[in-house]
Point group: D2
Chain length 501, copies 4
């Protein structure tokens, strides 16, 4: 039994909403699709991220960089038709691009090093001047279309995970530093107030950060923020359909946030903003863990505490509209998305909604609990019971004493668990149909909702007491608000006069 007596006053720490600053997306070219945009509309209406980040700005499908033969010579042609449509779609939905500058257009590429089903080219440019011109042309166009005030709010990040040979030929750090320098100087040439950063590495290579910071410092290369990724999955077991991986504890990720934060603070560049531009449990889009309730419960602590260390951390990704491992082959397939195909929210989606509802001053926080209070006195308790062990017997008993300033309290409880808000489980019962019928979609949407129940409590000596149980991997949000009872205004009210009551 977890016994918690919540203090009546906050400890001064506000709950940081840095978990809501940015979210990841499949390659930008997918943002032309209707299903993608339908999902993004839901995400923005229900959660409301501030930025969106994805690969593929310069990939051939968006077609920004082309070359024409004119008078026998090759000449660059910049085509903004699709990227305008994409960024318009983002801004119309209240979300700004966190611009990743990459990968390499075929026409500028020096080789066949490619990544993903969609074959992003990850080689250095044939000509760094042409690359710089591309960067400048693109940003100038953004300013022309959206205005300087708007574009000054867009961070520009140079490339993605250059420490992996798939993403950057030979994982060549020297070449990356060159790319970074050329790019950063091109950005600043357009306007010195634009923000540029890197090195966008994945975990396990933090010496890159040390050396990259030194490089920028020594060479006086502009650097406005530092970026890195974070995943907590171990070595994979691969089947043709799935990528299975065990997970580390979620503290593993928080430790990474913290240690890199310290690396930056100790560096000659000083206290630069630090953005986790990708994180999730597994880094593979065919890992079924993403569809589970465990994924949701596991992330709670990270959402609760991550903002203490980093300026943003960006869940990878908002939707299963995603093609890094080919067109998805089934309704559920282990994709990263908060929303599965056909618009079905996963448990992790609801955890994000719960955290949004829980914004306020922190009254209490531990590794499985967060209690906050809003200005109007409403209190939110977010409690989770993440269990990485197999088996069913892992209930969490919880006894809370919560300070309230009012006598009568309305309680609303929203729950996701193995039983509720878990469409993956119903889909398994259905026999894992690959291509959902309309009827199946309807059922999956219904079971994807959290269970919502309500109640009424009386406070005693300024406290209400809540004793409750969380089943395995359950996440429950309890919202407490004052009741202004109006029952006495109904003259002659008497429910017992109703048949059956």
């Amino acid at each position: 039994m977890d016994k918690i007596k919540v203090p009546a006053e906050p400890d001064g720490k506000r709950f940081q909403d840095h978990w809501r600053t940015c979210v990841g997306t499949g390659r930008l070219g997918l943002a032309l699709q209707k299903e993608y945009l339908d999902h993004l509309s839901v995400i923005q209406r229900e959660i409301g991220f501030k930025y969106i980040r994805g690969h593929g700005l310069f990939h051939d499908d968006i077609g920004i960089y082309r070359e024409d033969r004119v008078d026998g010579r090759s000449r660059p042609f910049y085509n903004f038709m699709y990227i305008d449509r994409i960024f318009d779609s983002f801004l119309e939905r209240g979300i700004r691009p966190f611009v990743e500058l990459g990968f390499m257009p075929s026409k500028l590429s020096t080789g066949e090093n490619k990544v993903f089903y969609w074959e992003g080219n990850t080689t250095p440019p044939t000509d760094y001047d042409k690359w710089a011109n591309l960067i400048k042309a693109v940003i100038l166009h953004f300013i022309d279309r959206y205005g300087l005030d708007e574009v000054l709010k867009w961070p520009f990040e140079v490339w993605n995970e250059p420490n992996l040979p798939g993403f950057w030929q030979n994982a060549d750090m020297g070449e990356y530093c060159k790319l970074y320098e050329v790019t950063a100087r091109a950005v600043k040439e357009v306007n010195p107030d634009l923000k540029v950063g890197g090195p966008a590495i994945c975990g396990g290579a933090d010496h890159w950060i040390v050396e990259f910071l030194s490089f920028c410092h020594d060479q006086k290369v502009p650097l406005d923020f530092v970026t890195r990724h974070a995943y907590t999955s171990k070595q994979p077991e691969v089947t043709p359909h799935f990528y299975y991986q065990e997970l580390y504890e979620n503290t593993y990720m928080l430790e990474e946030f913290k240690s890199v934060r310290e690396i930056i603070d100790r560096s000659p560049m000083g206290k630069l903003p630090f953005h986790i531009t990708e994180y999730n449990t597994s880094w593979h889009p065919l890992n079924p863990v993403h569809d589970t309730v465990l994924n949701a419960a596991y992330l709670c602590r990270i959402l609760s505490e991550g903002g203490d260390y980093v300026d943003s951390f960006s869940y990878w990704t908002f939707s299963d509209v995603f093609e890094e491992c080919d067109v998805p082959r089934s309704q559920f397939h282990g994709g990263f998305g908060l929303i599965a195909l056909n618009g079905i929210p996963k448990p992790t989606f609801h955890v994000f909604k719960f955290f949004k509802k829980a914004e306020g001053d922190i009254l209490f926080r531990d590794e499985r609990t967060l209690v906050t209070r809003k200005k109007d006195g409403a209190i939110a308790v977010l409690a989770w019971n993440e269990v990485m062990d197999k088996g069913d017997d892992f209930q969490r008993e919880l006894a809370l004493e919560i300070p309230v300033e009012y006598a009568t309290v309305f309680m609303k409880r929203s729950t996701i668990s193995e039983q509720y808000g878990n469409p993956w489980r119903s889909w398994i019962q259905m026999g894992r149909p690959r291509f959902s019928s309309k009827q199946a979609v309807e059922t999956l949407k219904q079971v994807a909702r959290p269970l919502v129940t309500t109640g009424r409590l009386e406070s005693e000596n300024g406290y209400i007491r809540l004793i409750t149980t969380l089943t395995k991997n359950e996440v429950s949000l309890f919202e407490f608000s004052q009741i202004h009872d109006e029952s006495h205004t109904y003259i002659g009210l008497d429910d017992s006069k109703i048949t059956s009551y």
Copy 2:
């Protein structure tokens, strides 16, 4: 324990959807309102009635009948501005008017006999020729606007509950017969294929039907269908806010359907169609029973069996947008609506949805159970546990053996009960706030949903066995469908490789 072995073959009786033929509405003038139309859109998308019937076609707020002074004389002016907008709105939402011809325009009225907060005038016309001209002008306009083919599908019913003095001055049967005759002849003068009927009486006065049928027969007055209302509430206890009434058993209503059906069949007019143009538990719009789960459970048997006796029965009404007793004074107030104000569905709404899902051949039916099968072999079990006694201990234990032609079965259970799908209960917990905040509306919509759970069963010897419990007043719909299991197509599938599973 109810033990039921469902036969493998239907008994030949199809489940009649006459419960879905028509639905009632507040006075037609309310159909100009946005909230009304929003509710109607939901109703039509989720249930899909064929007709809608309400009072007030000739009420002054719609303004059809006016008189002008021209050259010192009074001349009728027919204004179709609003009725066109209203009927357009109905037809755009896939529902046709079941036209009630009434009440009396002020300019044609002979007195101050009025009904409802909105003061419908219920006196005979000053001049029956003017009334007949009005009827003809209106129907000719309908034909002009919507085409004859369309209007031939609209039943025309003469007046409403003339057997009550509030609705028809002195409840004068002779005067009603006159009104009916003039009206019916006017309708047929426009086109002899148009359908006209009456007498739209409330219960407790079936001698009106006997005499009305004789009258029509003897006077050779056209009559295409017979109409009557049916409610099951006893004498009221009135408080300033509410109208409390005990209910008769629901068989009371089925008996009424049956006995009037017989009256008609035995009459000299013969086997005319018989429409119940209003029914509900209570006939009062401030009776809290309408908001309860009991109301939903209680009606199940009527929906299940009513269609055996009558050609339609029209639930009174689809929405709490209703003003017979003044502007509603609170979120829940005992209104008739399937949908409460602010778009919150009540338990009875879901029962209608459940019955729609249960359409098919009847395999089994008793007073608390309906089992049907669709052409594709899918089976629906609708079970209810209506309890009119007070207290909590009235569970219904149910053991079903259901014949299926397939080995593995997906089960979807949708439940409303005192605990789930019951926004009235949460609203009471909130302290019965009269005017819902947006936050309250959000919560009430969430708790208004049925609980949906799913499962998987294996058949044995051509049967699946379901043992389950229904709590007090619970209504559960069980949908069983064949599973085409595709799990084997996922090569290397093994959920146990996922952390926690």
Copy 3:
């Protein structure tokens, strides 16, 4: 020929958008209707007023004030069900209420003095304490629902046109001062920062303003702003269907704005804000002038200059969804609306859109011309040719020299005139059908659009020259913007290689 050489620099005066601060509406109860809200959505998307003002807040149809018998005594009951829905609808569409406090609820009224088809009661209250309690209850509810910050932005105006006996029994100024004082003190009792004003008189009675200001000053009655109405129509000729009135010159209204402004400034209350809370040509809702192009051309000068004198002037009204003279009897009927029934914009609607497009620094302005420049250098010329004489020969020749900073100019001309953007004329050709078929609505919407044409000009010595003709009652908006010609980037471009070109 009007020859105008537009100066290159503004004279320091900004074009005031006070014409866009507020707009009038039919009684608030109509705001429950779908058609009303559809029109308001269009108005807000295309023009975007800040406030909306209409009668009938306390009219019985919204039902705010009721009385219950409790223990043998009458007790007030405040019902906010409908007003919440109405104000929610306004705020969702980005428009705030300019709250008119009136008329009298039946239950509080002292007589049968009524106004309009909808019978607004215009008598003093039976009990000024009950009235004050009503005011306080209503405003407290608004603050509870919308927050104090929001409600502090809502002006509260006391009553409407008390100088007319139809609107205030006996047009009793002393009684109005009493009503004002009680009301203003009640408002300030809720919160002293709330804004309250009056006397909302119609024209022709400005001694009311003088005396009202003295009264407030002498009695230390709170007064935050002064309100008055303005119409320019002469004595009517009334037919059963229409109200015909000749118009004064439009300068008549501007003179009124100016003279009342001076009355206020000279008063002991000093330079209070001054709002024209209603204006139009005719004050009657069955005057066909409202449907004409003359109405649009006539108002241009008022929109152009009115803001120099008053803090807002509120066009009466945005929509023909209006019932002061009964339910409208035909598609066009002389209603006030910017938008006619069935969503058809009138010429005056487009003039409002044109003025919105013309916002910027004034470069030139005379009685039939307005030239402005935006920050990006784009120039708008709004020219009109209002002609009050009958007959067709009243063209206006116009020669403009317009300073531009760029060589090549794109011109977009938007025109309404007797020929274009004039659905009333097409409707007359159709034979004035009262109740539009869907086909007629489609045609009327098509002809209701302004004619839009485009062109290209070259500047010479920093000027472009525009010589053009305006037909009778034409209003044309010319928008000039810089061309960044990209034709040279199309390699091998040659239109003459296209067949026919």
Copy 4:
């Protein structure tokens, strides 16, 4: 001067709407895009085609055909995720697929013969059994998802333009016959009532049709319909940006329709249905003629008469969302679409709308005029003035005598011409901006509308007389309908009492 006296009775020929049976689309993969679907929604609401046909069903981007390594062997995997989404989108918009079976999935292809920017593989399959299995699997899936009744309405066409080496390796007729036979037999194996056809050749190779029909006859290969394409452009002149081509007269295409119709009728296969599954002026998507008014005027005769010869002819294509020559590089670029990027309708779009409005019995038809009458007596005159010569002086004077059965006639004229409904012209004036700003899109949409004017005519001796002028390349639709004048019902009506009138 064209003097035309329209006969009072039809000649028995109904105007065929075969022009509306089918429309072309860019490759099916583009149907995932929001902009594509937005355009399709407009097309279906405004015109309403019955079928849609495009390339790329088996292209890798839709991902239907994949292969897995299982137990060391390759095994086909059919992925219907995207094609379900695409066909759902079609059916939701009321349009059915006219299914083109092609091109070759990479995994089944025998070479690198590819077509278009998007690299459709146009080689024979590695294994005709695998191909047949693919065909069967796909159609079985369609039947499973949409029902047999639905899929029986979908024609299946084998491949596209096999007579061109780009589209079919070596344009090998023998190989095509093999492909056709295997495919047709596979289709019929699924269900013998499914419809299959070919050979989908382009013009200039009609011996293919002769030989293909003989082949099917001799080999008893199922063939339900014959397909061919038709374009009227001559040899191109190519610049890096555009493809310029002179056009043949439009009778060239009608002759083709006719002659191939005769080939089929004379063949041993007999009177098979004949579908033109693609037609347009130019066959190149970078030919500016598609954006012009000439294109619209030119096609009128083909729309007017084409249906006399063929069972359908399918305009290639409905939208400029199209990628055969790379991502479009500018707002207008000579694309095939009826709708340009950013939702701007082209003149040809309006011609299709005009023809839809003109449906009825033919009263008169010549090479530049079509007169029809609807059942309700409404008459449509569609007149065009297609001019292939350069220069401006090509007005068409037209004097029509039109028989009407009513005295007073309402005329609605809708016009597109070089001046009206011509966004391409305004865009040229703007300096051909490649990537339209929102402001430019707004202007282009406004100028893209036809000019609509109205009038009123009196008939004399049963005829109305219309004398009018058509400017170069103008297309005008005149709609005449009876006026039921209601002016006399407005008592006291007198417009001269309105100021200015």
